[in-house]
Symmetry: C2
Subunit: 343 residues, 2 copies
DNA sequence: TTGTAGGCGTTATCAC
DNA sequence: GTGATAACGCCTACAA
């Protein structure tokens, strides 16, 4: 049955064929028009096609385009935790750049769950994405090989694997932590408590602990690590543990929160327990949102630049897509220490 | 050229045709296998196909499936502002439900920009999405008609339009604001200051102001509205203005922040300026993240339930997709007042 | 139980 | 200048 009779269902999207029929040309000509090959047709034809496209509100079907072209202008970013503003900033940085160069960025959340990550990864495999930005949940990606086989351009954010395969964007975790350690030493602290989630789970935590310890222990200080579960934070327990470790605040101690939510908890404790900082106890932590400063402008903190990390990773991803080769292996985005009075 | 010779480029994704060749059956049989029609083939065939799919790590090409089926299992959610945890919670609630029923949810950010919203909307039109969740930036959607023509299932979150077309999920803004107004009256306040971004821009703000004013002015109190730009918050200016309005705290005044970031700013001011609350000045605000309570557990606040809003909207969207009809016009998700001591 | 073939909406290579 | 037409990978009547 020829297509130029009107047996369309209502709301059926208009196709290139519809436009061709209405304009009385072939779909090839319409396609040429759409791709700007206006020199290959008469001015009238072009005008007519243009008008009819406008009138009928025609937009090419991306799915068909993607199928044909075996790629799309959509890039995915799989973040570890949308609740974490760090992840959101990664998205924003990447999105800003990608939008400016004609890609769309689509976010999915592995929600800190490795199985979920695995599942989403397989689902993304056959999506005809142009590329993928991944902030892995842990130190390794499970579906590693499947992605490799696919030849899909990938960037790894905020973590790295033992065997690097894709380029990595990270904060200069070790370096900045050394600086922080040095600062703690310089300020005359006698002991250091590191408040963190399970250290072994991510490279960033490992590097931070390493950096701080190196510097601080070289100066003869003792470090303690308190590992907590962010989702079941027991303020009183932590407060008591800190009390024990500091011999009830007789020892001048710096407490370092390796992650913003933990720093927040610490600030909350400080307010509630009415502890006097930083005379005997100094606090400092990693934090990336401006918000925390609204609350306590005097906090000393280590500020990463997740937005820049997102932007840079997007640039490198596009480079991969275009050149089909890998730029650098690993790029460090500088974090900085903002000195307040809490340390 | 027949497809069963190996002229594939390396990394070319394996197709149903490849599997058919390797298994020595037709693609129809493989397709049947994939769709679980195992009764329509011999056990050996099924076993063989299954094995070969495993071995070759085959996953059907979603793009081709979508093109053929004219729909997909992907749902989009366009949020007004990823920086706002409210938007993120909407996403999470929707995602949780959709994931459980086999859809994927993909987030895009209009970033509070109506033009951006417009553009993304047109880009989404031809994406073969199964449905779309939208938290509009303002009281109206521009590309309204284009979406209508498409017959795409849509849910509107957190805003509503003058001419409702799609079902809406909202907080019970007016009702809860009336309750809040009553609470303020009951607590013996003499004046009310409402701190908000431009009221006219969104229905939720309008309804909140309306609810509070109704209740409070019925009791003879005066209300003042301070409209600020969240992104250029001038703490000192707001502090001074509050000072003027309260005759330098001689008048017992309740300050209501209509949005979490503004409440945060208020708390920040309170800390920095060392103002004594709530003897003369009470503060209360809309806030949705638990975080704010870590900082100040004594805050009285209005907590919406964005996660439930996301979940409910997702359910209703799926209902639309399945039944092709609209459930209810508008659903209100209850907010609640958490009483602390700050008001 | 299994295969053939047409079509989903595009793109692009040929022809004319 | 313009139009057929063969893919892209998959689904699904309809045959066999």
């Amino acid at each position: 049955m020829p297509d130029n009779e009107y047996n369309k269902i209502p709301n059926a999207p208009v196709t290139i064929q519809d436009i061709a029929n209405l304009a009385d040309v072939s779909i090839a000509t319409v396609s040429r028009y759409l791709h700007g090959h206006l020199n290959r047709m008469s001015a009238e034809t072009a005008e007519r096609i243009g008008r009819i496209i406008k009138e009928n509100n025609y937009v090419p079907n991306k799915v068909a385009q993607n199928l044909k072209q075996k790629t799309s202008s959509t890039i995915g970013i799989m973040v570890a935790n949308v609740d974490d503003s760090f992840s959101v900033e990664l998205y924003k940085g990447a999105e800003e750049y990608l939008f400016s160069v004609g890609y769309e960025l689509v976010l999915i959340n592995s929600n800190g769950d490795v199985d979920r990550e695995q599942q989403l990864l397989t689902e993304m495999r056959n999506r005809q994405l142009a590329g993928l930005l991944v902030q892995p949940v842990q130190n390794k990606l499970h579906d590693f090989t499947a992605l490799k086989d696919l030849g899909l351009p990938v960037m790894i954010l905020d973590r790295h694997f033992d065997e690097p395969y894709w380029p990595v964007i990270e904060s200069n975790n070790e370096e900045i932590s050394q600086q922080l350690g040095q600062l703690i030493v310089d300020k005359g602290y006698e002991e250091v408590i590191i408040l963190t989630e399970t250290v072994a789970a991510t490279t960033s935590r490992q590097l931070r602990v390493k950096g701080i310890q190196e510097q601080v222990e070289a100066a003869g200080l003792i470090t303690h690590i308190i590992e907590v579960d962010e989702n079941h934070f027991d303020g009183d327990a932590v407060h008591n543990r800190i009390g024990e470790l500091t011999n009830h605040r007789q020892i001048k101690t710096a407490i370092v929160a390796l992650k913003e939510p933990l720093l927040l908890q610490l600030v909350g404790l400080k307010i509630r327990k009415n502890v006097k900082y930083p005379q005997q106890i100094g606090i400092v932590g990693f934090a990336d949102t401006p918000m925390i400063n609204i609350l306590d402008p005097d906090l000393t903190l280590v500020r990463q630049n997740p937005m820049e990390m997102g932007r840079m990773s997007a640039k490198m991803l596009v480079a991969q897509i275009k050149n089909d080769d890998l730029p650098a292996d690993i790029v460090h985005i500088k974090a900085e220490i903002i000195e307040g009075t809490s340390l």
